[in-house]
C-alpha cells in the first residue's frame, strides 16, 4: 500500500447566496495515495471541482480538515497556501487558461520563474511533444496543443501532485486521448500523484482509483485491477 498524500475528514463547503445555503461538499472523508492516478467522477455540481480547489489550496473548506502529507491545509494562511501551490501543486484546467499574450515557452516560464526547482521550460514542452511549437502564441495553436502547453506548465515545477479539472472537456476524442497519454506518461515517469476530474466515465478506465461523487458526497470508491492505456479508450 503506497503512502497517503491527501487526507480529508468531514470536509464541507457551503455557498451562502443570501437566501439559500448550497452544500457543494457535504462531509467528505477521503484518502489519496502517492504516485496514483485518481479519477474523480460525477455529474456537474456534484462537488468534484470544489474538492479539487480545496486540495489544491485555491479555496478553504467551510468545515472539516485537510492534510497534505503531514501538513494540515485546513486553516493555513493565504501566504502559506500560496507557497504550498508554488512548491507542490500543478494545475490543468478545462479551458487551458493560457495567458494569450505569452508564447508557449513564456507561459511555461511563468511557472519556472517562481518555482524552487523547475525543469527548463523547453524540457517541459518537449515532454508534452511541443518542442517545435515553443514560440507560438495560444491563438496560433489547436485546443489540444494549448492543453498540452498547460500540462507542460503544470509539470515544469516538478510538482508532487498534478490536479486536472476536466482536462479533455473542451477537446475532441482524438486530441483528448493525446492529452491523456501525456498525463499517464508524466504519472508513470515521475511518479507524480495525479487527480483528474471528469464526467466522462470512459476515462476512469485508465485510473488506479476512481472516486464517484453525488450531491457533494462520495458515493463509491473503486480500485481498478487492470488499467487501460489512453489509446484504448474511446468516446
Amino acid at each position: 500500500m503506497p503512502d497517503i498524500i491527501f487526507r480529508t475528514e468531514g470536509v464541507t463547503k457551503v455557498y451562502d447566496t443570501g437566501d439559500v445555503k448550497v452544500y457543494a461538499l457535504d462531509g467528505v472523508d477521503l484518502e489519496l495515495f502517492k504516485g496514483e492516478l485518481t479519477v474523480l467522477l460525477g455529474p456537474s455540481g456534484s462537488g468534484k471541482s470544489t474538492l479539487l480547489n480545496i486540495l489544491g489550496g485555491l479555496d478553504h473548506a467551510t468545515n472539516g480538515r485537510v492534510w497534505f502529507d503531514e501538513t494540515e491545509l485546513t486553516n493555513m494562511s493565504d501566504r502559506g497556501l500560496t507557497k504550498y501551490r508554488r512548491d507542490h501543486v500543478g494545475f490543468v484546467f478545462q479551458f487551458y487558461n493560457l495567458v494569450p499574450s505569452l508564447t508557449a515557452r513564456e507561459n511555461v516560464q511563468l511557472v519556472t520563474d517562481v518555482s524552487p526547482d523547475p525543469m527548463p521550460a523547453e524540457e517541459a514542452l518537449e515532454l508534452v511533444g511541443l518542442g517545435k511549437r515553443m514560440d507560438h502564441f495560444p491563438s496560433e495553436m489547436s485546443g489540444g496543443e494549448q492543453q498540452r502547453v498547460a500540462i507542460a506548465r503544470a509539470i515544469a515545477k516538478r510538482p508532487q501532485i498534478l490536479l486536472c479539472d476536466e482536462p479533455t472537456g473542451a477537446l475532441d476524442s482524438t486530441t483528448g486521448v493525446q492529452v491523456l497519454e501525456v498525463l499517464r506518461d508524466i504519472n508513470e515517469r515521475f511518479g507524480t500523484t495525479t487527480v483528474v476530474i471528469t464526467h466522462n466515465a470512459e476515462i476512469q478506465r485508465m485510473a488506479h482509483r476512481v472516486i464517484f461523487f453525488q450531491d457533494g458526497k462520495i458515493s463509491e470508491t473503486r480500485i481498478n485491477k487492470t488499467r487501460l492505456a489512453p489509446s484504448e479508450i474511446v468516446w
Partner: protein, 787 residues
Amino acid sequence: MHALDIKLLRDFKRLWIQATAIALVLACGVAILLTSVGMYSALSETRTAYYERNRFADVFAHATRAPLSLLSEIARIDGVMSVEARISGEAILDIPGRTKTAVGKILSYPEASNPVLNVPLLMTGRFPNPLSTHEIVVNEPFAQANGFVPGDSFSANLRGQKRDLTIVGTALSPEFVYTIGPGALMPDNAAFGIIWMPERAAAAAFDMTGAFNDVSLALSVGMTPAPVIDALDTLLDPFGGLGAYDRTIQQSDAFLDAEISQLKGMAAILPPIFFAISGFLVSMVMSRIIALERSEIGLLKAIGYSNTEICLHYLMLAALIAVVGVLVGWLAGTVLARTTAAQYAEFFDFPFVIFRVSYWVYAVSGLAGLLTTSLGAAQAALKAARLAPAIAMQPPAPPRFKRSFIDEAMTRMRLAQSTVMILRSLLRWPLRSFLTSLGLALAVASVIAATFINDALDEIVDLAFYQTNRQDAMLLFAEDVPESALEDVRNLPGVLQAESQQFHAAILRNGHLSKRVAVESRRPGNDLSRVLDADRNPLDVPPGGIVLSERLAVHLDVQNGDSIEVEFLSGRRETFSVDVTNLVELHFGLGAYMDFEYMNALFRQAPRVSTVNITLDYQQTEALHAAVKDTPRISGIVEMNENRRSFQDTIEQNIVVMNTIYIVVAVLITIGVTYNAARIQLSERARELASLRILGFGRGEVSYILVGEMMLIALLAQPLGWLIGAGIAHLMTNAFTSDLYAIPLVLKPATFTLASLVVLSAAFASVMIVRRRLDRLDLVSVMKTRE
C-alpha cells in the same frame, strides 16, 4: 526577463492607444508643473542673483531738495548698511525721427566713486565722463527700441533748457527690470527711457548742487524696513520728503513679484487637476483590465504567484503609463519652460536669466505622476490581489439589475429598449458614470478657465478706457502747477477740451492696517476722467469724504461710512480723518479719490493741478507733440489710445498662446476620458451588442447604444463643467489679483458655449473612433468567448 514582465510589456503594447491618451493627460500636468515651477524658480533666482550682484536697495525715498549733509545722519539710522543719494528728474525727450515725445527719467551717476546701490550694469560702451555735460548712459531696452548705439544723440528738455545729449553706453539696472513710464499701463521702451547723467551735469540741470532728491538704502541682514522708513521719513520731512517705501512698493519689483506669485498660483491650481484626471483614467482602465483578466489572475494564483506579486504586476502597468507620461511631460515641460523663459526675457529686462529647472522639480513631478497613476491603479490592483483564486477562475456573476421607480418611469415613458439599456447602464454604475462625467467636466472647466480671461480683459479695457478714462491724452507736469495752467493747455495746438486732476501720495490708515496710495482729485462734473459708482454712473466725491476702490477697502478692512486716516506725504505732511463715502470697482491700481476743492483746502493752497486730461483733434497730434517738447513744465504726455493698444497687444499675444494650450489640453482630456470609457463600454458589452446584431439590429441601432451612452454622459458633464469652470475662474481672479491690477470675474454665455462645443465635439469624435470597432465585430467569435 521574467514571463510576467513579458506579459506586462505585451499588455502595454496592446493598450497603447488608451495608455497614450492617459499618458498625454499626465504629461500636461507634468509639463505645466515643470514650466510654472521652472519659471518661478528662474524668475526668483534670477531676481535674487541680480539684486545681490547689483546691490538693489531695500528702502527708497524722494524729497524736494535735501542737503548732502543729511546723508551722514541717514547712515546712522539703526539697521542701515549703506546709503546712496541721487538726483532724479524727468524730462521730455525729442528723439530724432520720432514725432511723438518720449519721456526720460534722469538719474545722477556719482562723480567720485562707483554707485554703491542700484548699480547699473554696463551692456555696451562706457560710463559718462564725470565732467561731461552731455554724455549719458541709457537703459538698453530704450536704446534698442529707438535704434540707438553709443555715439547717437537726442535732445532733452531739462527744466526749460533744451540740451543735446550723447549716448556713450547702455546699461541695465535692478531698479528697472520692468519699466513703465509715468501714466502708462504697459512698458513702452521707445517712449520711456532711463538716463544716467554725470552727477555734476544733473545737479546743474535740476538745480541740486550740494543737494539730493532721491535716496536709496540697503539694510543690514535681518533688519525689517518699517523702523528705518519711519526714521528716514522724520529726517526727510523738513526737506519735502515724500514718504519712504520698501521694495513692495518699488514699481519694478512689485510687478516682478506679482508675476512670481502668479506662477506660484498656476503651479498650485492646474497640475493637480491633470494628475487627478490621469489617476481617474488609470483607475477606469485598470478596473476593466482586471475584470477581463479575471481568469488569468486566478491562474497566476493557482500557479503560486503571491498576492503581492500580482498586485505589483498591475501596478507596474500603471507605472509604465506614468513613465511614458512623465517622460513626455518632462520633454514638453523643458521646451515650454525654455520658450516661456525667452518670452519673459523680452518682458523683463534682466542682463541674464538663470534658467535651471532644478532636478527636484523633475523628481517631484515624476513622483507625483507615478503616485497618482499608482493610486488610480491601487484599488483595481488590490482587487486583483484579493480575488480568491477559486472564484477568479469562474466567470463573474452577471451584474445585478433591480427594478426601481426609475424603471417604472422608463416603462411608462415607453422608451425604446436601447434607450432603456443606456439609462440602466448609467444607473447601474452611478459612481463610474459620475466620475466619467467629472473628467469631461474638468475638460469643460479648463476651456472656461482659459477663455473667460478674454471677456475679463474686454471688461477691463471697457471700464478703464471707455468709461472711466475717456481722455485722449494726459499731460503730466514735473511739479504741480496753478490751475491757471489749464488755460495754457487749452491754447496748445489740437487741444479740444482740458480738465484738471491732482495727485498726492498719501498713506491711508485704519488701525494697524495701512496702504500707501496716490489720492486723486478732480472737479465735480469732470467728464474725461471719471469715477463710476456700482451702477457705472459718474460719481462726484462729496467734499469732506474719500472714495476708495473695493480692493483698497478690503485691504484696509473698511466699509462705507467708516472713517480712515489720510496722511499726506507732500505739502505739510498733515494727517486728516476722512469718512469713506463710497466704494468703486477698479481694475488698475488701488484708487482713492477726493473732491478737488476739498483736497486743495486740506493742503491750504490755491487749486493746483498735477495732470491735465485732454481731448484731441488727432489731425494736430504732431503739432501738439512739437509744442510739448518745448514746454518746460510738462514732463510727459500719455496718449490713452497707445496705452490701450499696447495693453491689448501684450495681453492678446499671451492670451492667444494660453487659450491654444488650454483648448488642446481640454481636447486631450476629453479624448483620454471618452476614448477609454467607450473602449471599456465596448469590451464589457461586446457580447451584448453582438447578440443584438445577431437578433437583427442594424449597425446604426447598435452604435446608438454605445454612442448614446457616452454622449449622454458628456451632456450631463456640461453643467458640472460650467460650475467647476466658474469656480476655477474665480480662483484664478483671486490668484492673479495684486495691488497693481485685478482681473474681474466676467462669465458670459459664449464662454460656456465654446467650452461645451469643444468638449462635445472632441467627445463625439473619440467615441466615433471606438464605434468603428463595432463594424468590425466578429459576431461568431464574440459569442464563443468564454466569460
